[in-house]
Symmetry: C2
């Protein structure tokens, strides 16, 4: 298994460099779990799939605490056949055979509901891509069923789904979408936009 | 066919609202071609696949002319089976049967090379997702062959490919990747990050 994310943080502020450098300290508790590389476009996290969303949540909540309009954009991936297996990515849970879609929807709803609040409201939109399977739309529709039952569903948009709520529950919901839909060993990618403190009316 | 993009513009500046409102005027010549909807996270363009990249190029070059560090993030999609066919999206060219991969690579290189310069240097990274086919990696590797021959290839990164060059040629290269790889009628998505004026050293 190879899993990770390319993440970028965009504070809409003249002080964007300081806001980013400050927020990045929120990744310190995760540094032992990940290989981290940065260039001028994004920061790569390579590590276990179930730690990616807590790390992104803590990074984003720290940036949003600046009070400025901030966006986090990420490409999250697991199981890409073009990437070598990496022991650092070993998932905590790795079922050989996926449970039926209905069971996975119910388990995802129960698990995400246990997330603790952070006090930071966020809006999110994301696209879910289970690759390399003939019936990719079944997994997408199953994932959408889960999202609609998640308590943070806002609406379906073209090409993506929009969520809104406390960062704790929203990131837990994203994590369940990423971990439980698509083949357990398969190639799944997720294209994510997270926003806080936007001046645009909903 | 249904095709379009969810696009967002992030100027790292206290004046982000003015920079965005100013840049959006660059979309005026395209308004007859697209259905356009905006919310607090993104602007949706629905229209012909071959007009999406010129529209994004002109929008981004207008924002980057502010001199501030600006990023455009987009989810671009065609052929999603979950979206209804829409006459506004009818592509100019629509082959029934795809040409062999090698021919498409050569044609994409020739076509992208004809792009006019804009005078704006940009860096880009993007992921290409041909969905719902067993051999999706063949199309991805074919697309990467094209990118490596394109003249704007910078490097492969985990989960994505990085390009750098004049916005004219880079957006033309993205367009060729989107139009010529993956099944002509199939579901293809592209997850795109475009950056200019970054203070981060390469």
């Amino acid at each position: 298994m190879f899993s990770g994310a390319q993440i970028s943080l965009y504070p809409m502020s003249d002080d964007f460099v300081d806001i980013i450098l400050n927020a990045i300290k929120a990744l310190d508790p995760y540094r032992d779990s990940f290989r981290i590389e940065t260039d001028d476009l994004s920061t790569l996290l390579v590590g276990p799939p179930e730690q990616l969303f807590p790390a992104m949540r803590d990074l984003f909540v720290a940036a949003a605490a600046s009070g400025r309009h901030c966006v986090l954009s990420a490409t999250v991936s697991r199981g890409c056949p073009g990437e070598p297996d990496d022991p650092i990515c070993t998932p905590a849970e790795r079922p050989e055979v996926p449970a039926p879609l209905e069971e996975r929807v119910a388990l995802a709803v129960r698990t995400a509901a246990q997330a603790a609040d952070t006090g930071q409201e966020i809006a999110v939109q994301f696209s879910f891509y289970p690759l390399g399977r003939g019936h990719h739309m079944d997994e997408i529709y199953g994932c959408i069923d889960f999202l609609k039952s998640s308590g943070v569903f806002e609406r379906s948009k073209n090409f993506c789904t929009k969520l809104r709520g406390d960062a704790g529950q929203v990131f837990a919901t994203l994590e369940q979408a990423f971990l439980r839909f698509g083949s357990p060993e398969g190639h799944v990618a997720l294209d994510l936009t997270v926003s806080a403190n936007s001046p645009t009316p909903r």
